[in-house]
Amino acid sequence: MLYNVHFGINVDVAMTVEDKSKSLLPFLSSPKLLPDESEAEFQSGLQSLLSELDNPSPLAVALVSQLNECLWWIRRHSVDKELLLHEAMARLLSKAGSNWMGSGNSALSVALGHYLDGGSDKDQAALIEEALIDANLTLSDLRVRAFKDAARHIKMVDDLIHRQHQTIRHLQRSIDSIDYKSRLIRRMDLELAALESKQSVKGALSLDDKSS
């Protein structure tokens, strides 16, 4: 029987635990990605995390995929910090120069983004340089001012990153406890099997004594 578990996972309840952990993989590792993000990169991150676990159970797989998602969120938020600075820089340039009315903030923002990446065309570079002259600022001055301007939002993004770190810590502890539990159960099984074999040997010996 197939169950459709959250996000479209197909789990057959008659499968072994190992098979189930494998079947959980496509479900949990098919995350909601942004249009410019690579799914192959996400999957390779997940696989490398899973490879560190020795025979992971389905629950461990589920927790590791959540952990991988947290790492992905940290990446997104780190990019956002830089984007916030770009936004603030464009805003400051627009306010200071005559571009506020003309090309608008978004055009300036796009031009600035390309200028900072080094991929701007002549017009964009000219627009930014003109705006910098209008504002009577150098690029580094502008960056410092923008940092001050966007401090509130940058602090928010730092909080978001910190939250992801805390979540990762929780998940790590949970994975450790599952691992410990499964090892304990395996060890108890082995001890039980050893005891049973001893008992059976003793039983056989006592039967032999009686018969002789």
Partner: protein, 174 residues
């Protein structure tokens, strides 16, 4: 502030004129008006097939029935929070570029005629200009799309904290 009985009566009469939603569907729709992410509503995981399948999977790992139920609910709850987190991140409130970039006196011919440089325009025009300016300030304070999505997702931190704490507790106590 004292309540004027006549004003009170007039308010009540006027309130009767406003109909509001009458049908069941209309009432349900308007009840969702202020819904932002839905994380404050109590979820019903137990009746979902995802929950049953997860419980069966976790049970095979040697957890007790209570622990299985707790872990499955914790995992689904955490996923619910993270889905809302993603939706909030990808769909921030759009930037009103006109409001943000507009200069009222120069861009709007009606206002440029009404607003005189000496400030001798009528009171209602001045009030309208002040209202527009305050809307514009608000819009600019919210920042661009990245600032908006950061502040929107920041509001979900506490749900994420509670969700992961619940899941982690369930797994470790199981």
């Amino acid at each position: 502030m004292t309540i004027n009985p006549r004003r009170n009566l007039a308010n009540r009469c006027n309130a009767l004129k406003s109909t509001g939603p009458r049908s069941v569907v209309g009432k349900w729709t308007s009840s969702q008006n202020s819904r932002k992410h839905g994380l404050n509503s109590a979820p019903d995981f137990e009746s979902s097939i995802e929950y049953q399948a997860l419980v069966e999977l976790i049970a095979e790992e040697g957890f007790s029935a209570f622990a299985c139920a707790d872990i499955a609910a914790g995992l689904l709850n955490y996923r619910r929070v993270m889905d809302a987190y993603y939706d909030t991140y990808t769909g921030p409130e759009p930037v009103d570029e006109f409001l943000r970039d507009a200069n009222m006196k120069t861009s709007n011919p009606i206002f440029s005629e009404l607003l005189s440089p000496s400030g001798s325009e009528p009171q209602d025009v001045r009030e309208m200009a002040a209202f527009f300016a305050s809307m514009q300030r608000q819009e600019r304070r919210k920042g661009g799309p990245v600032s908006r999505r950061s502040s929107d997702t920041h509001k979900l931190i506490r749900y994420q904290r509670n969700g992961i704490a619940r899941l982690s507790r369930a797994v470790r106590q199981g």
